[in-house]
Amino acid sequence: MKDSLNRLAERAAAERLLDVAYATTDSPFGTLLLATTPKGLVRVGLPNQDADELLVDLATRVSPRVLEAPGQLDEARRELELYFEGRLTDFDLPLDWRLSKDFRRRVLRAIARIPYGQTRSYTQMATSAGNERAVRAAGSACGSNPLPLVVPCHRVLRSGGGLGGYGGGLPMKEGLLRLEGVLDR
């Protein structure tokens, strides 16, 4: 049966019937869910997020043609693995931004440009996105980031130096900042 299902996923991709391919992958923080469209990575689910709910959300917002097809996510899984080993600082993955719109998308694009091992404040992100007063909106854009890790919202902190929040939980944010050398190990 497993061979049949693998063949099915390959054929679905070849016939352009695979709108959303997903896979799970291990990380030091727990299991991640990765989902891609033909355009690029569209969703990263963190360990504390319910994978089934994320898939239902993708079925509703992108397409119900959602299939488990790990072969479509080999490169994303490889880069994430290297990142967690501290051997990769810049992701080179095509991204599909469709799950965020307008101001939020501008904030997330600005976050995507924060270099490895550096941090910015929510105020700086609001300014980069074109509205320095929309600090709270910038914060909620981080909170709704559909592509955490790859769009490194963990590098955004409070102006006073406080950690702020994180969708994957604060211990994960701290762990990522330690990995990148921002916080002491």
């Binding site: 049966m1 063949r7 099915l8 016939e15 079925a59 397409s63 959602v66 299939l67």
Partner: protein, 177 residues
């Protein structure tokens, strides 16, 4: 790995300020949920109708067709019945392609009205029958085809189809006794 189940969300009227709940919209679950839950049944139907050797082709054709049609599916009420109906259609295509004669069936329904396949393990026994008996039993009881159409699908006389069906049922009764 998908925990399926339909997601039913209340639809909100977009017209007028008093946004009222007017009707329920049933959303389609991720396709993987259909595979997780029903792949075994679809494979059993394919084995039952076209035999082990060609079962995987039938299985692939069934799910590719389903995937193609899925986003436009209007009624998500009986996804298992829908998949099994497609599997039967693919099995009939298969028999037809084998040159076993044209099959004068009316258009096969897009949506199964009732779930045609009980889930009680009997189809494992059906799968173990000799090919003609197996096909006759499956076409009769899962696809609900009359004898004449079973005969056409199998490329034999109605009398021979009736006999295969009879022999198949006799054997099943013995296995179950």
């Amino acid at each position: 790995m998908v925990n399926a189940g339909l997601v039913t969300q209340p639809a909100i009227s977009r017209s007028g300020p008093s946004q009222r709940l007017i009707h329920e919209v049933t959303e389609l679950p991720p396709f993987q949920a259909l595979i997780d839950e029903h792949a075994g049944d679809v494979m059993a139907v394919c084995r039952g109708t076209v035999g082990r050797g060609d079962a995987d082709d039938c299985f692939q054709e069934t799910f590719i067709s389903a995937l193609r049609a899925y986003p436009k599916l209007k009624d998500a009420g009986n996804l298992r019945g829908w998949l099994i109906t497609i599997a039967h259609r693919k099995a009939i295509d298969h028999h037809r392609a084998r040159g076993r004669g044209p099959l004068p069936v009316a258009e096969v329904a897009e949506v199964a009205v009732e779930d045609p396949l009980p889930d009680d393990g009997i189809w494992e026994l059906v799968g173990a029958l000799p090919p003609k008996q197996r096909a006759a039993v499956t076409l009769r009881y899962a696809s609900d085809l009359p004898h004449a159409e079973i005969a056409a699908a199998l490329g034999c006389s109605p009398e021979a189809a009736r006999r295969s069906l009879h022999e198949g049922l006799k054997r099943l009764r013995k296995e179950l006794a």
